[in-house]
Symmetry: C2
Subunit: 310 residues, 2 copies
């Protein structure tokens, strides 16, 4: 049994344009770290949080990492064990990059590693989902699953956590731009109409299904034609200034497609290789810069490993 | 150049539960035949129609096979050539099995074969779609594409006819029961609400995407879990007496899933092999028989060839 360990859980892009609430993929970075140690105290404590500007609670039942870890400890009958967490928040809040999911994943990963992995990584999913639920109120795995196990993940059903890994074509590369504006997932959900048109649904499902065919067949052009969200993006983009110009900039630099990452305001693009992805990032950043909005660019392959012990 | 030829175009199951307007697959039979011959007259004529109980027009521009063939003849600059069609209607109307699509496909196939295939089979699609449009008023390929090229077909977009063939797991077998009640596609479309709930769409897209993953991975159990139409079937099943009992009978005999074929009233089920498919057919038929509704059962692999010259 380890005395102390460090784990990393990566950021993720949920929805992926055509897969509202059912698709997500992991990035290489940014992400969160947790250092966990056995102590002589009783129970789990969060003793230090860095990088959160005082915005994360130390109380276990209010902290996504704390809840995920605590549910797991109860499951393995070790809730009484003394464990201290140091949380190193290394990614932005409210960015649409699965910040709370990464923390929840890191929390449950940390304790599983501390006990020498009583559960397979994939079986940690329900605990991490419970953790993230504290932050955004809903039980869903579209950020948590890719952050935990990596890859481009399809969630058939969020209740039974029936998740599946898609093939990822060689070279497929993501660019993400995070403008320094904050959107709460709750607000971004509230802007959505409770209904969609049947006509729009036919278009969206045609694109979603073809996106998956494109992934399995490594058909880059089909992925490009399919990456068009006709239902959610038109509603949510109103919350993101200059969205249309940024998207246009990405596409004109050769991106296969471009849409909102999770609930926004981050915007992601997929490209056929890392060279194009870099150019896409330069172009997207330029638009925000011209409009006096600070932003950060991330470039990453589709991370296939997910969370790991450092 | 052949003096005369005969072609066959098979029935098809559109929508496939989770893919409203975007999925369809071909059956081995039933289907329609057309015999086409060069004559000394000017232009295309329909000289004989059998099996249609007088319900199909002889006028070229009102007949799905006629329109499909005529548009193709104009395309290859042969609209003036004397050609006689004999249409052998060998499948029921208004059955939800793509009857008009099969006729349209047979029409364009017949003339293409007569001229020794100036176009590839796949390139006949737009003409066949134009033909079917005469019958049901909308331009869509979910019956026409599988009837023409065979297979389990995804239509990303009906305007550009961006169609894709899915992998079909070995052994996958279809059972179709056609109760002798007629539903017009127009009526079956009219019963549908113009909107669907966002929540329902998330469930449906999760199932659709997983169905495709299941097909590509030959994951029979995933196909079974995914074959659940939560949006269209609940609305349309009201038009089909005893639908719930028939579906229950199919599932209890081991079918992976069961839903409405096209606009109904036919009901299809998919099974892991032909033996189960047979048992499923017996069970489905029993329900209709007990309720004094005549019905026909078809069993078929997923036909991979589509229309052919006999």
């Amino acid at each position: 049994m380890a005395l102390g360990i460090k784990v990393f859980a990566p950021a993720s892009v949920a929805n992926v344009g055509v897969g509202y609430d059912i698709l997500g993929f992991a990035l290489d970075k940014p992400g969160d770290e947790i250092i966990a140690k056995f102590t002589n105290h009783k129970g789990l404590r969060i003793t230090k949080i860095t990088g959160a500007q005082g915005r994360l609670p130390y109380e276990i039942e209010k902290n996504t990492a704390g809840v995920a870890a605590q549910r797991f400890l109860e499951h393995i009958g070790e809730a009484g064990r003394g464990i201290d967490f140091e949380i190193r928040k290394k990614m932005p809040f409210g960015s649409g990059l699965g910040s709370s999911a990464a923390s929840a994943v890191a929390g449950v990963m940390a304790v599983n590693e501390l006990f020498n992995c009583p559960l397979e990584k994939r079986d940690l999913l329900p605990f991490a989902v419970l953790g993230e639920q504290v932050a955004d109120g809903s039980y869903h795995a579209d950020n948590v699953a890719p952050s935990l196990i990596g890859g481009m993940i399809l969630i058939r059903d969020n209740t039974s956590l029936d998740v599946h890994r898609l093939n990822v074509p060689k070279g497929l590369y993501a660019t993400v731009v995070h403008p320094k504006i904050e959107i709460l997932t709750r607000d971004s959900r509230a802007i959505l109409s409770d209904e969609v048109s049947l006509k729009g649904m036919i278009q969206q499902t045609g694109n979603l299904a073809s996106f998956i065919v494109g992934m399995f067949n490594s058909d880059i052009e089909l992925i490009g034609r399919s990456l068009q969200d006709v239902l959610i993006e038109p509603q949510r983009k109103k919350l993101i200034p200059y969205f249309d110009a940024v998207k246009e900039a990405a596409l004109s630099a050769g991106a296969l497609g471009c849409s909102i990452s999770g609930a926004g305001p981050s915007i992601f693009a997929l490209s056929a290789n890392s060279l194009i992805a870099e150019e896409v990032g330069v172009n997207m950043k330029r638009v925000f810069k011209e409009n006096k909005i600070r932003c950060t660019i991330y470039q990453s392959r589709i991370n296939q490993e997910g969370a790991y012990k450092c």
